[in-house]
Structure formats: structure tokens, C-alpha cells
């Protein structure tokens, strides 16, 4: 236990908290019984970009030791894991035995607790929804005690916890429905799209034919090339699709980090480096190709470079991710136009077409287009730029993703998440004293504030 300075993955807005590392679920739950005046929040692997897993002046419960993993029903693919178990650990243990996680975000370095609390989505959202839809039960420590929560016996609390950003309690464990796979490879179809209309048309007509789909947009392309992108779609490869040599060990899984960024870098992300990178990347992509790729390079390309967030230098960066209804394509277009007009250096933007939402009132995904952008925080002028985007997004009936957020204007939250009140009512029911607190909760007014005695 000690005071530590914490930030999210974007390395903005540092605050300090007492970080405790309970050795087991019982001691983690006990942290809620005798909270200090500034409350408690759980923290997994700190991969949310903003201030969700911080609690200035209060207690932060690091869940790393809650890392158990066992089958609860192997035939049915039901896996019982601790709330601190990382997707990396699950994949290393189970890909070689023919199982994949039901939903994977763009990095393996997230905990199960973090994946549920943000109700994360993957490239298969259009087909299979978000993470919590594949959770059959969870063990939740609340200030009123620890309980099993399933979508059938307490749907309100289950769905308030999915996407609830840790504010309903500490997820001590969960049961996941895993996906059987024949090989550790993905058959990937890559297409180059000339502009935004082109890529959206391809996604609208063709996503249904693939389990996984995402497009990477070159944000610096302007004019007629606005939205030029590379669309990659894939499906788990069957053994007979592997090259002969690979069929010997169809489930081999050995992801590794080849590169690592030193602790102090001056900020290598600027307009020039971004332009060079994007240009090279777009040219490299074939106009149409089918390849067989390892799971790690298809799902988690950034994990190959450890600490890549430090490339943005000491000022950190902001990831802005929103979703707007399918009809509001103009918001995506306007965003890209403004971004390229301001020449803000964003590497690739990620575009995805979401499928149906799950019942979580604060769960981010909803049917529509989602766009994610990484922007260096120290640019100056970014605050005003993003404030304008928020209004466009809210006006179109869209929302921003709280797991990425560090700066949303609080009064827009209820517009973006119309069921916020419903969520708050459930939250306050399990935590009437406001024990669960985070910087995100204080900033956006998600919780009752406790006053120091």
C-alpha cells in the first residue's frame, strides 16, 4: 500500500491515490467495508485512456492478484476467471487448447473486470455484440456485501455493472462463454477503399459475411481522398486453410513484444511523422488480398510495441471515440474534414459499423458508425475542437465512449446516454453512501459526493 500517481493510458490528468493490492477476493471486497472519505475504485491494467481507473485522494484497488482461471463447464466453453485476469493470460492458456475470447479489444492487456466495466467491443460487434453479452454471471463486491449477479436474476444490477465503469462495485470474478477455434490464425481479406463513401458502402453490404471487420482511415487525406482507408475483415481460419507447414501446429500461439519505447521520449508524434507513416501504410496495403495471419497481428497489432503510448511524449494524448446512428454518416464526414483541415496529426482513425446494442444503460455501443482518433494533448486548440465535435455527436443522437474519455462536458452526458438516470438509480441502490468514487465519476457527476467529516 502506498501513495501513487496514476493516469490512464493517455497519460493526461495525473492524480494520486492510495493503491492497495489485495492478495485475494476476500480482501478486495473488504476494502469497501471501511472506505476512507474519498472512496474506492477498482483498477485493472490501466488501459482506459482517461480518468476512469483513478481516485484522487482516495483508494484504488489494483486487481492484478485476482487472476484465477478454471473451467466451470468445459464442454459448454464456460470459463470462470478472476476480475483481474488479463485477456493476455486467457489467450496464452487457451488458444493452444482451441478457445478464443468471445470479444477482444485492440489490446490483450485488459483485465476481465475492465472489459466488463467498460463493456468493451471488438471487431465482431456487428455480429456478436459487446463483452458483457458473453458473461453468464459475475461476482460483485458492493458496499452492501458480495453477491453473484446474473443477467436473469438481477438484470438491473448486471447491466448497470456492464459499462458502469467500476461504480457499482468491484468485479471479483466472472464466467465467460468462450469461442471454440480450430486454429490460431485468421483468414483476412484486405481491401483498399478510395474514400469514405466507398468504405462505408463496403462495410454496409459486406460486414455480415465476416465475423470481424474494421477499417483504418488515413486522417490526413483531403478532398476527394477524404476517408481513404484500408478495410480488413476476417474469420477464424480452419485447419485446411492453413499453409501446409502450419497445419502441424494449428493452434500455436506465441505473441511477443519486439520493440519497446524508452521511458523518456520527446514526443515523436507530429504532423511530419504522421504524414510519412500514413502514406507508407496506405501504399503498403494491397488493393485486394486474402492472407492468413496470426491472431495477435490481426487483433492486437499495437501490443507488439510495448509502451507505445509514450511516443506522444510527456504531454500525453487523448483518444476520442464516438458512435453516431447509421443515418448520421455526415458526422463522420464532418469530423474527418475538420481534422484534415486543421491538420491535426492523428495517426489512423479506426472506423467500425456497430450492430445492435446490449441492455446496459451506460454501455457505449449502439447501432451506428464508430470512429476513434488519437490526438496529442499538447497541441493547443484541441479542447475547443473536441467540444464542437461533442455537440455534433450529441445532436445526432450519438455518444462518446467513457473508457476513452477524459474531457467530456458533463451536461452532455445525459443527452448522450438518455438512460443515465435509470443507471444512477440502480447504482445508488447498491451504494447509497457513495463509497465507489473515481476521477471520472467526480468529473461527470456520476456518483453522490461524500463530504469529509
Amino acid at each position: 500500500m502506498g501513495t501513487e500517481v496514476l493516469t490512464g493510458w493517455g497519460r493526461t490528468a495525473p492524480t494520486t491515490a492510495e493503491v492497495v493490492r489485495p492478495a485475494d477476493a476476500g480482501s478486495a471486497a473488504a476494502m469497501l467495508a471501511s472506505p476512507g472519505s474519498r472512496g474506492v475504485i477498482a483498477r485493472g491494467l490501466g488501459r482506459s485512456y482517461g480518468d476512469a481507473a483513478q481516485n484522487a485522494g482516495g483508494t484504488v484497488v489494483a486487481t492484478a492478484a485476482l487472476d484465477r482461471m478454471s473451467w466451470s463447464d468445459e464442454a459448454a466453453g464456460l470459463l470462470a476467471v478472476g476480475g483481474g485476469t488479463s485477456l493476455d493470460a486467457i489467450l496464452r492458456a487457451l488458444v493452444p487448447r482451441g478457445w478464443f475470447v468471445p470479444v477482444s479489444p485492440g489490446t490483450r492487456w485488459v483485465s476481465v473486470g475492465g472489459a466488463i466495466a467498460a463493456d468493451v467491443h471488438g471487431k465482431n460487434h456487428h455480429a456478436e455484440g459487446s463483452f458483457a453479452s458473453h458473461v453468464t454471471s459475475l461476482t460483485l463486491a458492493t458496499p452492501a456485501g458480495t453477491r453473484e449477479v446474473t443477467p436473469s436474476d438481477d438484470p438491473d444490477l448486471f447491466w448497470a455493472t456492464a459499462g458502469g465503469m467500476g461504480l457499482t462495485g468491484i468485479i471479483l470474478g466472472a464466467t465467460l462463454r468462450m469461442l471454440p477455434i480450430e486454429t490460431s490464425r485468421v483468414r483476412v481479406v484486405t481491401e483498399r477503399a478510395a474514400d469514405l463513401d466507398d468504405v462505408m458502402a463496403r462495410m454496409s453490404s459486406g460486414d455480415a459475411g465476416h465475423r470481424y471487420s474494421v477499417a483504418w482511415i488515413d486522417c490526413l487525406a483531403q478532398g476527394r481522398a477524404l476517408g481513404r482507408s484500408v478495410l480488413t475483415r476476417g474469420d477464424h481460419a480452419r485447419v485446411d486453410e492453413l499453409p501446409a507447414a502450419a497445419r502441424q501446429h494449428p493452434l500455436r500461439f506465441d505473441p511477443s513484444s519486439h520493440l519497446s519505447v524508452p521511458a523518456f521520449v520527446p514526443g515523436l508524434v507530429n504532423r511530419t511523422t504522421v504524414r510519412l507513416f500514413n502514406e507508407g501504410w496506405f501504399r503498403k496495403a494491397k488493393s485486394h488480398a486474402t492472407t492468413i495471419e496470426p491472431i495477435s497481428s490481426f487483433f492486437h497489432p499495437l501490443d507488439a510495441v510495448r509502451g507505445w503510448n509514450r511516443l506522444y511524449g510527456p504531454g500525453g494524448f487523448v483518444q476520442y471515440q464516438f458512435v453516431v446512428p447509421l443515418a448520421a454518416v455526415d458526422i463522420v464526414q464532418t469530423t474527418l474534414q475538420r481534422l484534415s483541415a486543421l491538420r491535426l496529426p492523428s495517426f489512423l482513425a479506426v472506423l467500425k459499423r456497430f450492430g445492435p446494442a446490449d441492455p446496459g444503460p451506460l454501455s457505449f455501443p449502439m447501432p451506428g458508425w464508430t470512429l476513434a482518433l488519437d490526438l496529442p494533448a499538447r497541441l493547443g486548440g484541441l479542447a475547443a475542437f473536441l467540444d464542437t465535435l461533442d455537440e455534433l455527436v450529441a445532436g445526432a443522437g450519438g455518444r462518446v465512449y467513457l473508457a476513452k474519455d477524459g474531457r467530456l462536458r458533463p451536461d452532455l452526458l445525459a443527452h448522450m446516454y438518455p438512460r443515465l438516470g435509470e443507471w444512477k438509480a440502480v447504482r445508488d441502490r447498491v451504494d447509497p453512501q457513495g463509497v465507489l468514487q473515481s476521477d471520472l465519476a467526480r468529473r461527470l457527476g456520476l456518483t453522490l459526493q461524500r463530504r469529509a467529516a
Binding site: T3, V5, G10, T12, A13, P14, T15, T16, A17, R38, G50, D51, N55, A56, G57, G58, P314, G315, G316, V318, A377, R378, L379, G380, L382, A383, L386, G406, R407, R409, P410, D439, R442, R443, Q449, R451, A452
Partner: protein
């Protein structure tokens, strides 16, 4: 909370009637500031600023009385503000007096008053605020220093030295607060046309309260520890520091 781009939601200003503070507050309210506490001496001016901020979108604005030289009351005043309002994201130290430079050069009482306000007042209130920021684990303390303290001129050496002292104090406080989650930002404006400088001949690189405020808000967004306003003064003052004494003494103004 301060957001990822340095915008505070609650602000306490010591020296709430300062013109520089008012220009800064207008911009902060345009961003995220909703609670503002104005502490100062002149109730009329405080009320005026309060009314303006409310029309601009602030939700809670409170005024209260603060006298920089009454150091004995600082701790309880600051305790009271943090106790009633909860977290304060930004505390702006805006009080200061120029004194009467020609008089203070030879008048012990006048000179001591300048030092008491600018230096001793900052030290006392600074320590009281720092304790609360440390406890809440976050927050920005921003102090309006001055280029006058960078290399103290003969024409206003009493004021200049008091600003040099408060500037050094806040730099030291920054190091002391390292690892606490609290941040200390020192702002060094040049000559600004405000009430304080009314009737004085503008110095080179003179600027306006609006421009200073722009630099300050941008500095919060980009995470600067030291903000020069206008920014060019960083280089000008680096050069001034290198001037031989004989040349420095003969500089105009």
C-alpha cells in the same frame, strides 16, 4: 476535476477583484468552470465579477473577504472554502500590489507593506492551499508572478524583489508537491494595462489582460509549469539576465 486538457470545474481566486483574474475566469467559465469562489477586499468589485461569471454560465459563484496581510486568518479561511465546496481544481493567486515604487524605495512602511502582501501573503496562503491539494490528491495552484522579479530593476526593486520572492516560493512549492498529484503553475506577465498599471508608461512588450488570459488557458491545456505572457518574454528575459550590470541599469523605463 481538471480534465485531460487542463480545464478546471471549480476555481478559488485569492484577489478576486483583479482584472487579470477576471479575464482568466471568463475563459475558464467558457470551458468547464461551474463553481467560482472569489476572495478579496472590495465587495463591490467582487460582486460585479460574480454577476458577470453567472451570466457567462457559472452555476455557483461565492464572494468572501480576504486580506493578504492578515496571515493569521488564512488557514481557517482556506479550510472553510475547501470544507464547504469540496474539491477545488484550480486556486489562482491573483492578489498583489505595486505599491508606490518611488516612495517605497525610501519608505520602510510602504516597502514592508508591498513585501507583506506580495511575499508573506503568498507564502501563508500558499502553504494553506497546498495542504488541501495534497489531501485531495489533485489540483492546480496558479500564481501570478511577474517578469519584474526575473531581474529586479532599480525603478521598482521593492515590488520586483517581492515578486522574485513569491516566484521562488511557488517554484519551491512545486518541488515540495511533486508526487502529490497537485500541480503548481507560475505565470510571468510583462507589463499589462490594468488598474495596477493605470497611469504608467507601458513598458516594451506591453500586453492586455485578454492576451495574458489566453496564454494562461493555453498553458493549462498544454500542461506548462511556467507561462510567459506574451510568450516572447521567455527569450527577452533570458537575454536581459545576461546583460552586463552597467547596460542593465541604463535600460529605459
Amino acid at each position: 476535476m481538471n480534465d485531460a486538457l487542463g480545464a478546471p470545474q471549480s476555481v478559488l481566486v485569492l484577489g478576486g477583484s483583479s482584472e487579470l483574474a477576471r479575464a482568466i475566469l471568463r475563459r475558464l467559465v467558457a470551458r468547464r468552470a461551474r463553481t467560482v469562489i472569489l476572495a478579496g477586499r472590495d465587495p463591490e468589485r467582487l460582486k460585479e465579477t460574480a454577476a458577470e461569471l453567472l451570466t457567462l454560465g457559472a452555476e455557483t459563484v461565492e464572494t468572501l473577504s480576504f486580506e493578504a496581510t492578515e496571515t493569521a486568518g488564512h488557514q481557517s479561511l482556506i479550510d472553510d472554502v475547501f470544507g464547504r465546496h469540496g474539491d477545488i481544481d484550480l486556486v489562482l493567486f491573483a492578489f498583489g500590489t505595486l505599491g508606490v515604487p518611488e516612495r517605497d524605495a525610501t519608505d520602510a512602511t510602504g516597502a514592508a507593506e508591498v513585501a507583506a502582501v506580495n511575499f508573506a501573503g503568498s507564502v501563508s496562503a500558499g502553504i494553506a492551499v497546498a495542504g488541501h491539494l495534497r489531501r485531495q490528491g489533485h489540483g492546480t495552484l496558479m500564481a501570478l508572478s511577474s517578469v519584474a522579479g526575473v531581474r529586479v530593476r532599480p525603478s521598482n526593486f521593492v515590488y520586483g524583489s517581492s515578486k522574485a520572492g513569491m516566484d521562488a516560493f511557488f517554484q519551491g512549492l512545486r518541488h515540495h508537491l511533486e508526487g502529490s498529484g497537485a500541480r503548481v503553475v507560475v505565470v510571468r506577465p510583462g507589463f499589462v494595462a490594468t488598474r495596477m498599471t493605470a497611469g504608467l508608461k507601458p513598458a516594451p512588450f506591453a500586453t492586455t489582460a485578454e492576451d495574458v488570459a489566453e496564454c494562461v488557458v493555453r498553458g493549462l491545456e498544454t500542461g506548462e509549469d511556467l507561462v510567459w505572457a506574451p510568450p516572447v518574454l521567455r527569450w527577452v528575459m533570458a537575454a536581459v539576465k545576461l546583460l552586463p550590470t552597467a547596460v542593465f541599469r541604463r535600460l529605459p523605463g
